[in-house]
Amino acid sequence: MGMAVKEKMAKRAAEEINNGDIVNLGFGIPQKAIQYIPEEMTVFFHAENGVLGAGPSPEKGKEDENLVDAGCVPITAVPGASYFDSANSFAIVRSGKLDITIMGGLEVSEKGDLANWIVPGAIVPGMGGAMDLAKKTKKVIIIMTHTDKKGNPKIKKECSLPLTAPNCVSLIITDLAVIKVEERGLVLKEVFDTTTVEEVKEKTGADLIVEDTVKVISYE
């Protein structure tokens, strides 16, 4: 059996990160991207609670209660890291210094609108930093399953859930495909080797532009 689907999505997302980038990773699968960044690359991870240069978790017993990520999990700080207050943390975001944010999604529209902060009447966690990050990061990458648990498309003509930010998503990485949001619409760039272009089209709730060459991703 090959790599787990979640790992594949995280690995593919990590390939978008370039040397020297400043990156914010959401909870869950986005955070898995860390392990797929080549060691020779220098990437500064921003955590919105106030650190640029977040490093891996410390060994058990070496945790510092005042050094945690935005999920309140103990971390370390890499050489060159800095600490700051919440206003400066979001100054980094709003000023466009953040190169990439990778986060989960509930729905993405064909214009790149993102919904990921509220399901009215059900889940009301609040937006935290998601609205600032989605609106202001240079490149917003969404990792999500292609369809919901009932099989309904999560990529749609229009989002039906309340938006996090309109017209903000650059790239969607699902368990089936990699889709780029462009001016002309949603462009199917790549499919995982477990699926086909036809299946992806069928499970997408918006028009997909399919170019002559759609790359097939095979991870061992």
Binding site: G50, E65, G126, M127, G129, P162
Partner: protein
Amino acid sequence: MQIENQFGKIKTVSEAMENIKDGMTIMIAGFGGVGSSCTLINEIIKKNVKDLTVISIDAGDPDVGPDHIIRNLQVKKLITSHIGATPTTGELMNAGKLEVEFSPQGTLSERIRAGGVGLGGILTDVGVGTLVEEGKQKIELGGVTYLLETPLRADIAILYAKKADAFGNLVYDKTARGLNPLMAMAADISIVDAEEIVPVGAIDPEDVITPGAFVDIIVHGGGKFKWGWQ
């Protein structure tokens, strides 16, 4: 070591608590409880002051941070960015027992800063085209649509610092800084719970993050949260 209290700011926890009363607006610094004063939160619960408006970046995690006070039904309104880690807060909100005003985290930070530095509001395009814009004035400037976000101030700010000198100059600790420096400026009375209180002159002025002018009361609480990872 006896520290000279020449500004009269160093007080006992119970003296500090005399300032906290029913109906007040209280800012509680910290992110998931990190950078929050465990002692002062516990004292607010013990005093059982009611009808509070609490301003905090999140509701904390279960058992740490503002969630305790909310669960004790002392809060009528919460202004925050996130309550996802604390189921009780959401349940009270859905049951109509707690009013919650959500503000995007960066916007919330700037609203508090605006309240602290005497600005009449801030303009931001974060939240435009979302539920956040409801009821807010929109302003067009240089071809961009902004929301006018109002400043936030409080009667009391509850702060946590690694170190305070007797004047209230504060040094924080890593990611325990958060909203502390912003809330220090934005309340009529700011109360800091410092892990260590040192004499005036013991902190290099270059290391001071919050100038003592913004700090009214200094206590040493000594309380410690039990963290989820422990």
